[in-house]
Symmetry: C2
């Protein structure tokens, strides 16, 4: 085995072409083995094995700098830069993250997890090099799927004006997570089909030089191409064509499903565990399909992640008139939603909390300032969706709830969620976002309002004494437990974006303490507004929420404990404070 | 005069070509006259007179829908759609805004003020039309300068896949506010020089059809071109070449300076009023020029607005190695800054508060998660910068201050600003943003720290009794007045992004009331964190800040009064609350 002797990229340079090809095979086997046990990004990693080997053979990392876009294709890079044990030794699988991480290795320039950032980040590295008058190569590696994002397209444009070294490797596997969407992909197809000779060329139109590598899974031709552009004095695109999932037939045949894999049996491709229970994704899907069939102005919008709400390929095809995937382009998804609403359509845009961060200004200017009645479903906005720091969804409340005109709703269970969703789609007065609960599907026998147009009306769910608990969205069940144990008042605020002055004022006479609990960071959020409201009164306030922190691959229960957000901890705090008085 | 008979666009359709040309001349005269008295966007409006006439001659607004990007070129459209009085009658100048506004006319689809949004908004209108099976034309009008923005480029890509009517008029005057930056402008030049025939074509590479109009100030050829594309069943770009400032020689000769005009004398072009007093722009310029000459790794970054800190053309040229304009592309400006810092450069990015909204995710992911020591100067973040709702800068504190790792500083005067700026550029530990004061340049005889690396340390500026005033940034002088009048404690918090637990806790024993004052919206901001801190104590808190509202062309003093933020109002509130106890 060659792979376990690769202590760093310098070792590669002494290998023959045959050995490099053997190394590629070994890496591929290791990737399949590790991901079959551990889970991880699958197709992107298998497709980029040869290109990563060729990059490290030709360039001199860490002096030369490689920036991987999204970095879900970085496993081979990690194996070749001193981290091979974490791919060969199951006990060390968790020693590395699934993404680029500068704290992990000097060969990783950044922490990266969101798409479309690599070119602009690399431009900065290049500009700093020019300021310092050094001469390292700067290489950005970006997939075709990431090219639809505004930051990537901006980066291509700015790169077209740089008068120094920058190499942009476009890894074209003709796929995003699902199929690509947008006109530029017709141009990539033209380029593939003309062996890179088409006169019409997006990259040249952005002012960049261009070379084409038809077989991006062939080490030899990749090495030639990279050697050719090494030390270039002008920015250049190297367009390589790779096969997503290369070397594992199930993945080659079903690229979308094998973008990311949960643990599976290598022989059959069958997953080891099944996740068949009801989810807010499936609940939303069922609802939307019915609603869409009843009203042909309802349209489901996604920005590259159609399966958040279960829109698999067959469903997308069946409902193509009421579905649009804008590619990875959250800003445009929001602006498009606003336009649809303004012209009488009923847009429903599903997006992960971590990704709506990419569309703040569109939310503020294109939607809220225009008061267009869009419906935005924010998924994964919860401590329970903990993953890499790049993808946590706990910042949406400060981000969204402080924008004027937006009605941001926090349902506490399935039935309330569906009632809010149904209201939102048919109303014409407000831009509405709904924070899809993150604590699993809870069903409630209560009845819920069907009309939410009188905004900022909280629900008094339980009358108690002295202490009132305001438990927002997916923290409602926790609030309920505490209220029951303490015979406290329980309030379901429902509206994240405003205060119910009547209810809040009514609590003053009969309560000494108001407790808020929210499922997101405390700073800039819901509870602090409540604290401000009571600031001039004798009512004390305790706010519970997460710390302002980039939690990285943390256990949700541990984080909650750290933030004193278990029922026992909150009850202890309440008792302590009450006893002081 | 024809112009004053134009009650709506339908009137145009009966005019002869000669009359349309006469109308153009009358409009141009009216524009120059009005702006010479009232101020306003100058060059963009003069350039688009003929195209707007031709659009309304060919299309049938408001059934057909026109979406103007940025909409700083919309004056002619307003004149032709029933609002001509607001351009001819000085007493009615203020009846219309300077931008597109759906509340003003059914001919305006949206409120628009930020760049690069028109294509995505128009796509939404088109998609809704297709859902409803109606057949109106949808037209986006976008300047070349706006094409560098991610949302515009995303929109072009998504448009390339639409299988129905969408017309994108690219108004190419070969200018942004300053000169354009980016590789795509080389392609626009190729297209202009080849009469639109260059095989390499950005728009075609995005999957769009394309026609070229060499003289975009010729009504006749514009009418022919628009008639040709009317009712197109596929998205098409109409690339028209116009002259920014057309018809006023001073503006044609100095396009950058005449992008926007303050009131001026028509004959000479001389401004009626001079603004020569010291500003934070000139203070920053002086500082940066010295710093850049001492350290050639310091680099000044802008996204299309170089003159925020006085980088006029001559200064840009003189310092081209330490200056970069990425075009209107705030996301890339932030990511680029991060890359520069990571590779040892010292980036200083100046941006308006309203525009940094366009780079939240880059600030969070590309900078803060990566802990790169960038310096961001946030200008116009103040109630004193009130203008159109699209451009107010009062949302930055909730937007930025809740991002982990960022150090957001609020200097209270010129000397403190310079001390913070100097520290920030040379330190290596934190991403730093500085909130440039908005209340005019105040000079202080106090001494200020040169080192801000012990973060979240507030300054106790005055020791008083019972009441403590925490007055942030440009609210410090107001806080000082109140503290002096009440013999209250005065604190300069300096750090927006964190609490000084020591100082805050030390106030508990000796103070009944803590008052916070900040120059931005209250929700999600600084004061609410203070209220949360004291929630479990007996200290009362009063938070002062602006309402969560899109203030539109409001007088700053009135807004402050509405928010009870004058010294007398705050003192009244304090006295009232103290007397209750």
């Amino acid at each position: 085995m060659i792979l376990n002797s690769i202590t760093g990229p310098e070792v590669l340079k002494d290998l023959s072409l045959d050995e490099l090809q053997q190394l590629a095979a070994e890496i591929r086997t290791a990737l399949i083995e590790r991901i079959s046990h551990h889970g991880g990004h699958f197709g992107p990693n298998l497709g980029l094995v040869e290109a990563t080997i060729a990059l490290h053979y030709v360039f001199n990392s860490p002096v030369d700098k490689l920036v991987f876009d999204v970095s879900h294709q970085i496993y081979t890079h990690k194996m070749l830069t001193g981290r091979v044990d974490s791919f060969l030794d199951p006990s060390k699988y968790d020693d590395v993250t699934g993404f680029s991480n500068f704290r992990e290795s000097e060969h990783d320039c950044f922490v990266i997890g969101h798409t479309s950032t690599s070119i602009s980040l690399a431009l900065g590295l290049a500009k700093a090099r020019d300021l310092k008058s050094t001469n390292e190569n700067i290489v950005a590696i970006i997939g075709d799927g990431s090219l639809s994002g505004g930051e990537a397209l901006e980066g291509l444009n700015v790169a077209g004006e740089l008068n120094s070294n920058l190499i942009i490797v476009v890894n074209d596997n003709d796929m995003s997570i699902a199929e690509n969407h947008g006109g530029l992909y017709k141009n990539l197809k033209e380029l593939r089909e003309s062996n890179g000779t088409s006169q019409n060329n997006l990259f040249k139109a952005m002012g960049l030089d261009y070379v084409f590598v038809p077989d991006g899974n062939d080490v030899e031709s990749l090495i030639s191409a990279f050697a050719l552009v090494k030390d270039t004095s002008k920015p250049i695109v190297v367009h390589i064509c790779t096969i997503k999932g290369k070397g594992y037939s199930h993945a080659e045949n079903n690229k979308e499903q094998w973008h990311y894999a949960q643990p599976f049996t290598i022989e059959t491709g069958e997953p080891l565990f099944s996740f068949s229970k009801e989810s807010y994704g499936s609940i939303t899907l069922d609802y939307l399909l019915t609603k869409m069939s009843e009203d042909n102005t309802v349209i489901n919008i996604t920005s590259g992640t159609p399966t958040i709400v279960g829109f698999t390929k067959d469903i997308r095809e069946k409902h193509e008139n009421q579905f649009i995937d804008v590619g990875i382009a959250e800003g445009t998804a929001i602006a498009l939603s606003s336009g649809i609403a303004r012209n009488g359509g009923k847009p429903v845009y599903s997006v992960f909390s971590s990704f709506i961060q990419r569309a703040f200004d569109q939310l503020s200017q294109d939607v809220c300032l225009n008061e267009t009645p869009v419906t935005i479903l924010v998924h994964g906005a919860s401590v329970y969706g903990m993953s890499d720091a790049t993808h946590i969804g706990i910042f949406d409340i400060p981000l969204m709830s402080n924008i004027p005109n937006l009605v941001y709703l926090a349902p506490t269970c399935k039935e309330e969620y569906l009632a809010m969703l149904d209201w939102s789609i048919d109303q014409n007065s407000y831009p509405v976002a709904i924070r899809v609960p993150g604590n699993g599907v809870v069903s409630s026998p209560s009845t819920f309002d069907s009309d939410y147009s009188k905004i900022n009306k909280y629900i008094l769910s339980r009358k108690g004494t002295k202490v009132a608990i305001l438990a927002l969205g997916s923290m409602f069940q926790l609030g309920e437990e505490i209220a029951n144990r303490l015979n406290a008042t329980l309030v379901n605020p429902r509206y994240i974006t405003g205060l119910d002055i009547d209810i809040l004022a009514s609590l003053v006479d009969s309560h000494d303490l108001v407790v808020t609990i929210e499922d997101g960071i405390l700073d800039g959020g819901f509870g602090q507004k409540i604290a401000s409201f009571y600031g001039s009164t004798s009512v004390k306030v305790l706010n519970y929420g997460l710390n302002k922190e980039f939690y990285d691959r943390r256990n949700s229960d541990e984080v909650l404990k750290e933030c004193r957000m278990t029922a026992n901890q909150i009850i202890d705090d309440i008792n302590k404070l009450q006893n002081q008085q």
